[in-house]
Amino acid sequence: MKKILAVDDSASMRQMVGFTLKKAGFDVVEAKDGSEALNLAKQQGFDAVISDVNMPVMDGITLIRELRSLPDYKFTPLLMLTTESGLDKKSEGKAAGATGWIVKPFNPEQLLAVLKKVIR
């Protein structure tokens, strides 16, 4: 079973992403900010990471930069959840090593469809 790390400071978003992915047959671990996510990622391997950008403690772009520098996450799909108003964040995220982005708001179907680009 593919294991995904879902990172978001909003509990409802985290629940929604987590629930959707679990229902689609993924193993999901949730984290509420970048720092928590980074610790989890160092302890256990993930097949993909989906992270919000704006979070307290450690934001999503820093998380992606940190993850990409780890040997275990060299090729791992790292997706960021951005909003339509955060267009410049996309390029910033790409520069940090993000694989791609999912634009908020999205519904569960869109999330799974987009995820198919990187994990099957």
Partner: protein, 703 residues
């Protein structure tokens, strides 16, 4: 796969309200020009989360509105715009508006749009007509470009060598392409170097695809969206380069089969369907929200509280096992001792468990206090007064139910302090006071009660004015001599609210009598003390919890009543020599320096067979609102904690009775509501020491 989003609504609303509270308190702490980055970031993140969530869960009105807030905050955050006081005011208004919208949505109602639209325009004006494109609908409803007939595209995709390091995988893109239609793939390998020079982590292969699809070019572009900058991509419509197109236009078989194939696994039809649902079929959307019953309130409990409960239940199970083991043995002297010990243990466990269960409903009073910085700010601006608000004891815990009902009376008292209590800066300076007035909210525990003080350092109550107003309203007589405290008490009398006192802030048709009534409904009390020129203090006392009270069981005829222990001053045998008749069947007992009216429970509740001779009965002296009465009972029974059951919920409201409980032997016992009993008995205390036996019709004694 369909997922019912309504299951996440509860969490969304809860966290959105929390976010709004956080935004509000951070904004109130901000000083324009001196804002620190982290505060702005926190405010931005809260707005951002609300927008993201509301967009995702289909509350487009909220996400549209939050968008403008977010844009402004983003500009401030990025240093593109300087935060000014006007922004803070507008943002605070927007928070109110959002709160109202979310409350409406939570109750499954359509939110009021007018204010939101007005505020939105003001934000847009600030944003200088910056276009607000990218509203959420557009993000999810990108029009589906659907070609009528299949078209063949030639797609050249040449990733840059580092592509794998971005986490992208060409294989999945090819798989996605194949889902769009009929795909012919040519993998080109002429750039793969000799084995020695090959870097295993690089991508050397590149591809040429021929895709025959009814979907437009944008669907193809979307697949490569993430790798645009990491690859050379060319997409051209080919007419005849590939032999297929001609066939397509002639043979109907292939075109028909292609869309059928394409429709299945691709995501696009779904979103467009969802948008339709939202726009046209509001009914199903509402139905989906039915799960969110607005009346169900939730409570967040710290894990430590839950842990200690689990521990205690564990203890209880052990004690129960011990007791049942004893029960199985033959009864001997030693087993009786063990049984007694076990029962004591059980009593101990039960009490612990009860206390801890009660603690679950306890929340820090900061939940109520937190709304005051905003309130004080708004009111003081309106009144042109300078006010510093001090909050003390915010961590003091209080039952959630009490908390909810406490908020309105407190708001009223704070408004009063600001409006009537505090002077204008000029007046304060003239009196040698600091121009900035202080309002202090202080909460602490005292015995089984929680005490909340609302203090101001203003001018204090004007006793002369209160006195003359009370005479004018017929509450007291010209000749009545009252102490200062008694005069101050008058402000709680019904009908005291006067034209003099009414202003935009505090004159909302709610008098202090309502404040007192609301607090009394919580089995609490409110008092005022005041000193001219120094300030006033309102003191609210409330029982810690509504559900349990320490009671004195009393016997009247063959009935058992419960008197709240907290109200009892003393219980005594009556010295007949000190009883005098004061007319209309009322007797008073002279107790030290006071006259205590004697209330006969058997009369009030129509019981027969009670002991009527005063020397054979007992008098329980109780105090309510600084006013003492004696309740005549046949006998005092045990004192015990009783669980209050609402009569109103199970039967109906009964005057003089605040609730009922079930005693150990299974009988139902009624709990006496002291202030209701005084009212029922025909005694009133209109601020003077005089006892009135007659009640005016407008005092509202129910028949």
């Amino acid at each position: 796969m369909s997922i019912d989003l309504s299951q996440f609504f509860d969490v969304f609303f809860e966290e959105s309200f929390e976010g709004l509270d956080a935004m509000e308190s951070e904004l109130l702490n901000l000083e324009p020009g001196k804002e620190d980055q982290e505060t702005i970031n926190t405010i931005f993140r809260a707005a951002h989360s609300i927008k993201g969530g509301s967009g995702t869960f289909g509350f487009t009105a909220v996400s549209d509105f939050t968008h403008v807030l977010e844009t402004l905050l983003d500009q401030i955050r990025n240093g593109q715009r300087q935060l000014v006081a006007e922004h803070v005011n507008l943002l605070l208004k927007a928070i109110d508006c959002l709160r109202a919208m979310l409350t409406a949505l939570q109750a499954q109602e359509e939110p009021e749009q007018q204010e939101a639209n007005e505020l939105k325009q003001r934000f847009e004006a600030i944003l200088n007509g910056e276009n607000s494109t990218g509203v959420p609908e557009q993000a999810i409803s990108e029009p589906e470009e659907q070609a009528a007939l299949p078209i063949t595209f030639q797609i050249d995709f040449k990733p840059l060598p580092y592509l794998f390091k971005t986490g992208n995988e060409p294989l999945y893109m090819i798989a996605e392409l194949s889902e769009l239609g009929e795909l012919e793939t040519q993998a080109l390998h002429d750039e793969v170097p000799k084995l020695k020079q090959l870097n295993a982590e690089d991508c050397y292969l590149y591809w040429r695809f021929f895709l025959t699809t009814t979907r437009g070019e944008s669907a193809i572009r979307e697949i490569f969206e993430w790798v645009e900058d990491d690859a050379e991509i060319t997409i051209v419509q080919c007419g005849g380069l590939f032999e297929e197109p001609d066939d397509h236009s002639e043979s109907p078989n292939i075109p028909l089969s292609v869309p059928a194939e394409a429709e299945l696994p691709v995501q696009a039809p779904e979103p467009s369907k969802m948008v339709q649902d939202n726009k046209e079929e509001t009914v199903p959307v509402k139905d989906a929200r039915k799960n969110t019953d607005p009346s169900t309130t939730s409570i967040r409990v710290g894990i430590d509280k839950v842990d200690s409960l689990i521990n205690m239940v564990g203890e209880l199970v052990i004690t129960q096992a011990m007791l049942s083991q004893i029960g199985e043995q033959e009864i001997t002297e030693s087993s009786i001792a063990a049984l007694q010990e076990g029962l004591a243990q059980l009593a101990h466990n039960t009490r612990d468990l009860q206390e801890n269960v009660m603690r679950i409903r306890m929340l820090p009073i900061s939940f109520v206090f937190s709304r005051f910085p905003r309130l004080v700010r708004d009111i003081s601006q309106k009144l042109n007064k300078q006010v510093e608000l001090k909050l003390i004891g915010e961590q003091t815990e209080l039952d959630k139910t009490v908390m909810e009902k406490l908020s309105d009376p407190m708001v009223h008292l704070v408004r009063n302090s600001l409006d009537h209590g505090l002077e204008t800066p000029e007046e304060r300076i003239a009196q040698g006071k600091d121009p900035v007035g202080t309002v202090t909210l202080n909460a602490f525990h005292q015995g089984g009660n929680i005490v909340i003080e609302i203090m101001d350092d203003g001018k204090g109550l004007d006793t002369e004015k209160i006195r003359s107003k009370a005479i004018q309203n017929g509450l007291i007589q010209e000749q009545d001599e009252l102490t200062v405290d008694e005069i101050n008490e008058l402000i709680f009398m019904p009908g005291f609210s006067t034209a003099d006192n009414v202003s935009e802030i505090s004159g909302r048709g709610v008098g202090m009598d309502v404040v007192r009534k609301n607090i009394q409904a919580l089995n609490g009390s409110v008092e005022v003390s005041s000193e001219a020129g120094v300030g006033s203090t309102f003191t609210i006392r409330l029982p810690l919890t509504l559900a349990i009270l320490d009671g004195q069981l009393v016997q009247v005829a063959d009935h058992t009543y419960i008197i709240p222990l907290i109200s009892i001053v003393e219980s005594l045998q009556i010295d007949i020599a000190k009883v005098s008749n004061v007319g209309k069947g009322l007797q008073v007992l002279r107790l030290r320096d006071e006259y205590i009216p004697i209330l006969r429970l058997y009369d009030i509740f129509n019981h027969k067979g009670a002991r009527e001779e005063l020397d054979k009965t007992l008098l329980v002296v109780v105090e309510n609102d600084n006013y003492k009465v004696g309740i005549l009972v046949d006998d005092l029974l045990a004192q015990q904690q009783v669980v209050i059951k609402s009569l109103e919920a199970n039967y109906q409201r009964v005057d003089g009775i605040s609730g009922a409980t079930i005693l150990g032997d299974g009988t139902v016992s009624l709990i006496i509501d002291i202030s209701g009993l005084i009212k029922l008995s025909g005694l009133r205390r209109p601020g003077s020491s005089e006892l009135l036996v007659d009640l005016k019709a407008d005092e509202g004694i129910p028949a």
